[in-house]
Amino acid sequence: MNAIIYKEWIKTRRFVLLLGVLFAALITYIFLWSGQMMEASGAVIIWETIIGKDMRLVGYIKYLPPAAGILLAIVQFAPEMQSKRLKLTLHLPVNEGKMMCGMLGYGFTVLLALFSLSCAILMLGLSVRYAHEIVMANFWVSLPWFAGGLFTYLLGSWTCLEPVWKQRIFNAVTAACLVATLYTDQMSGAYATYLPYMLALLAVCFFFSLYSTARFKDGVQ
């Protein structure tokens, strides 16, 4: 299993590094933008707009996690599907389910670590100039966006690993519907009540890729 995870790391390390740089750049931009806003409008106006009008400080990060998720799925699994290289992996003397879970677990953990670190840096940075209630409001508003990144990774992997192109389109449509539930424009904190459903869906979606793998192994064309 360690060898599989190492193989995944070798395959994706450059892209993971690129993601790290992109997140770092965007977080820096958010801090600079927030600081400039404070300078231009004054802290009192900004606080009052946040309290009264639900202004978001982390809005710029909205679409980066889902983009990161989908791109990691492509970087990790598209090469496997080219020339059907995945067949070699599936013929190794390891249970195919365990092996796929290991590969997915690697990508999921990498994204989870990246998102957690980004979220922690953002919240720590905001806590310097804002009360913890404002920090928490921004945490709650960004939570479905980060969860969206995990969803796009799992559902993107499911779509990439699917051997039939027509089916890939169907999978992508289903994935779009599921991810769209996290992007209905709502107040900060509105998704707190959706959290249990989100976690349950995330747990279920983790195993979708195994179905595509089974179809691939069975030689479905």
Partner: protein
């Protein structure tokens, strides 16, 4: 693979759930049609409900008795609504119903209030801003601090992002002295600075007592309104009315509505039937003679005219909702569908809505067609039953999730 069938079932279930939300959302947007109810206002001159309805370029103006009016006649019978137009045309009467009127008098006695059910169920950041109630300026000024008010009261200096101990202790001491019990259940206020005075906040404490808190000359002003002794308070909406007759509207748990009079904290009940606080919208357009109250329910709009002094009902009118395109389409397409948010709450939470049994006709038809034409005979019965229950969404989920041997 061992759990292939279980995973396939999970994919079908997740796809069905997503489509039970996505397809009705798209169809609902595509079939949106307005109820096109007229604008309704109670006339203080003809003393009945008057209506203005626009269809295309044609605007009809009429009263409840069916009498039609021209635009200028309509202005004249609705001076509380069109006083600016009347003043502009030099047609403003000196008195109405024996009371002297000027545009200033009408303006200071008029208000518009709106209640939406989502007010009772929405996330709150947990921070508030307390303005100086009478700053002496035309517009109020921001205090430079915010406060948290859940388990204790704590003022935060915005520039330093630190707790202002002195101010916090001053307010905490005063709250304790007045018998306030933490934690606060909820607090409502309006910290907009575009007004000439501020009444601070009204808060329900842990023991169900209703407190008024504002800042007067830099000092805390805290009073127990004692309203909590007479009714079980569900909600309060503050309204800064120019004549300072009342602080806002109190709703009790039975759905009755009251005004909280200023400065006595006396409750005055509105002569309205109990509202569904989680479903009904309320719009009140008040003037010095009558209040026109519009209660929007799922069935239609109920209009009530209340006497401004007594708050007793003088007239009522009902306009039923017409069956709109979405109602017609959904009652044939979806016996049930899912929404993630609706008017009753601003939280995201999946809710299942049931429409009509007629939609099962479509479910039966597509389940039968599936049973007849399904290529693979394995699990056809199970899938047909699944489609019968879940309808179009289930059919699409089954069709796009491939089965294989």
């Amino acid at each position: 693979m061992k759990y292939k069938n279980i995973i396939r079932s999970c994919i079908i279930a997740a796809t069905t759930l997503a489509l039970l939300w996505a397809i009705p959302s798209l169809v609902s947007t595509a079939t949106y049609s307005s109820q096109n109810h007229p604008f309704v206002y109670f006339s203080s001159v003809v003393k009945q409900f008057c209506f203005r309805k626009t269809i295309g370029k044609q605007t009809q103006r009429y009263d409840a008795a069916g009498q039609e009016y021209t635009e200028s006649q309509f202005d004249s019978i609705m001076p509380m609504m069109y006083y600016r137009q009347l003043a502009l045309n030099g047609l403003m009467p000196d008195s109405i119903n024996g009371a002297a009127v000027t545009p200033q008098i009408i303006r200071s006695n008029s208000f518009i209030f709106r209640y939406r059910p989502s007010e009772m169920s929405q996330p709150h950041i947990g921070l508030y801003v307390l303005l100086e109630s009478m700053s002496g300026r035309a517009n109020l000024q921001s205090p430079g601090d915010a406060f948290r008010f859940k388990d204790k009261i704590e003022f935060i200096d915005i520039l330093a992002n630190t707790v202002d101990r002195e101010k916090s202790e001053l307010y905490e001491k005063e709250l304790n002295k007045r018998g306030y019990t933490f934690p606060t259940q909820w607090a409502f206020g309006d910290f907009s600075t575009q007004k000439s005075f501020d009444e601070g906040y009204f808060a329900l404490d842990a023991s169900g007592q209703f407190f008024h808190m504002k800042q007067v000359s830099g000092k805390p002003f805290i009073r127990n309104t004692k309203v909590g002794d007479s009714i079980s308070i569900a909600h309060f909406s503050m309204l800064n009315v120019s004549n300072k007759r009342f602080y806002g509207f109190v709703f009790d748990n039975q759905g009755y509505m009251y005004i909280l009079e200023s400065p006595s904290y006396k409750l005055r009940k509105l002569d309205l039937p109990p509202l569904s606080l989680h479903g009904d919208d309320v719009l009140i357009m008040g003037n010095m003679f009558y209040w026109t109250v519009t209660v929007t329910t799922e069935e239609g709009k109920k209009y009530f005219a209340l006497n401004n002094e007594t708050l007793q009902k003088v007239d009522e009118y009902l306009l039923d909702n017409k069956t709109n395109r979405w109602d017609k389409v959904s009652s044939w397409l979806f016996p049930a569908y899912i929404t993630l948010s609706d008017n009753s709450s601003r939280f995201v939470q999946p809710k299942v809505h049931f429409t009509a049994l007629t939609a099962f006709a479509l479910n039966i038809a597509i389940a039968l067609i599936f049973a007849i034409f399904a290529r693979k005979k394995v699990n056809v019965a199970f899938h047909a039953v699944y489609i019968l229950v879940t309808g179009v969404a289930g059919l699409i989920a089954v069709l796009i999730t491939p089965d294989f041997k």
